[in-house]
């Protein structure tokens, strides 16, 4: 049943512009990642968060969706996609001074930007990010804003000023509820993000991208100093034998493999 809200629900979706890890190249000689040249996209998990926001809006009608991105690089291309998917407005804090911030600094900037944006009912984020895969920013943001936090959410529903979420834990599925405002982190199971139609892409070009400067957010610069030090980031060494097993037919190949596995001591009777 369609249940319309009697108030305008504002949803803020935090979007990370992430390195497309499937297109990341490695310099085999130095094992360095060629990050500078890698294409960027909306972090997959955040796309699920945005899709969920759009679905909530479709269901309750009276809602608006803002996206918020904190980045040290231009993100307009990525934000156009978010607007095409159904966001109403995109906020971006793009400042080169954010180049070395860690998850604490990122969450701090997000929290200050959200205070600047004003009232909201729900913050949606991805469970983790496609590139760094740390999953720290969502909880840190909930902490900065003192919000109820619901993580690992695979199903979400809104009922008046309450949200009900299904959390996927290792050994159980937990149904949890909270009063809004709240922060929800979604898993990739929650939905299948839509691919914007040409019409939606055209419409998105008229939507607004609002730039917020670090200077306007009343950010204390010293709070952006990283608390962790990344000592090195290197492609792992692969120390595999890479032995090709060949033979006249499947039986011969299978026999050779079986003997090799017994030799390795990785198969046997219990």
């Amino acid at each position: 049943m369609l249940r319309r809200n009697d108030y305008l629900m504002r949803i803020i979706v935090c979007l990370k512009q992430a390195v497309d890890v499937s297109q990341l190249k490695v310099d085999q000689a130095t094992r360095q990642l060629l990050i500078a040249g890698a294409p960027k996209k909306i972090s997959d998990f955040d796309k699920n968060a945005l899709e969920e926001a759009v679905r909530i809006k479709e269901k309750i009608g009276n809602a608006e969706i803002f996206t918020l991105t904190v980045t040290a690089e231009d993100a307009r291309t990525v934000l156009r996609e978010a607007l095409a998917m159904g966001a109403d407005k995109a906020y971006v804090v793009n400042d080169t001074s954010l180049k070395d911030v860690d998850t604490l600094g990122t969450a701090y900037v997000l929290s200050e930007a959200i205070k600047k944006i004003g009232e909201f009912n729900l913050i949606l984020c991805g469970e983790t990010s496609l590139d760094s895969f740390s999953g720290l920013v969502g909880p840190r943001l909930a902490e900065f804003l003192g919000l109820p936090q619901l993580s690992s959410v695979r199903k979400l529903s809104v009922d008046g000023d309450t949200i009900v979420a299904e959390r996927a834990l290792e050994d159980a599925v937990e149904t949890v509820k909270a009063k809004m405002p709240a922060l929800v982190m979604v898993t990739r199971e929650i939905n299948q993000p839509r691919i914007p139609s040409l019409m939606m892409i055209m419409k998105a070009s008229k939507k607004e991208i609002v730039s917020l400067a670090v200077a306007d957010l009343g950010i204390q610069k010293e709070k952006l100093d990283p608390k962790i030090e990344v000592m090195e980031v290197l492609a792992p060494k692969t120390e595999r034998k890479k032995i090709k097993i060949t033979g006249e037919n499947a039986l011969e190949i299978a026999d050779k493999l079986a003997k090799a596995l017994i030799q390795e001591g990785v198969v046997g009777k219990r």
Partner: protein, 321 residues
Amino acid sequence: MSEHKGVWVFSEKHDLALEIIGKAREIADKLQTELATVLIGFNLQPKVDELIKCGADKVYIIENQSLERFQIDSYLGILYNLAVNYKPEIILISSTRNGKPLAARLATRLQVGCAPDCAKLSIDEHGRLVGERITYGGNAAARITFKSKPQIATVPSRAFVKPQPKDRSGQVIKLDVKAEEPKTGIVDVKPLETSSVRIEDADVIISCGRGLEKKEDKTMLDELATVLCGQVGCSRPLAEDRKWFTEWVGLSGHKVKPKLYIACGISGVIQHVAGIRDAKVIVAINKDEQAPIFEVADYGIVGNLYEILPALKEALKNLLQ
């Protein structure tokens, strides 16, 4: 910063706390400091003895019926209070769905750094904790250290081995810390079927990818798994796109470290490879000679899995008799 002392371990899951203690004991010895575990919950007494026998010098107990089930706000408030009072230099927390956000928020409340999912931990020449984690979708391993204390890291399951219990004694400290009122309410808890063994615990995993043509063909893998006392897994597309499985092996699914991993019809995208990196022996069976899985395999077979798998089952059955 120098006033911080001691290594702490916290997990809402007892078996994971024991695994982490295995490494934490080594770290505490290296730093010549004590190892403490924090136990939060209800009916905790049965766990205390094992924590000490496995290496804890101290066990802090915060026991209350309202704490029986993990809730982030109450657990966080307790850990924060303890950390401010006792000032540990290292806090290790299990990388579970509840543990990770707990670590992140504790680090935020304390305004310090957090290194998530560290499968390796060490102490550098300055006495700092160094964590190593997989990042960039499996393309790289990052080594991270800290500029503030306490140094908080989360540790994935099976990264370390539960130590053999020894006859040793420790101090038990019961504390009465007032828990914060949770901001979320648990409506319902449905345990997942625990009948199936966790894939992380399997010694042998036979996994299939897009090369498997029909769902029913999975029986071919099941039969081989039976011979090898192993389990069947899959890559992400078979679970997420085709819905033939509910879970998958890979960076975003289960990270496994079996003795033997047989990848059948799996191309070997970097995210999948990141989930099997710690396997002792990897076998790849794939029709496509160019499949990247061969680059990370110990034994590679360019061939049709529909012919190889039944033949392999027979060969192993005969040889292992």
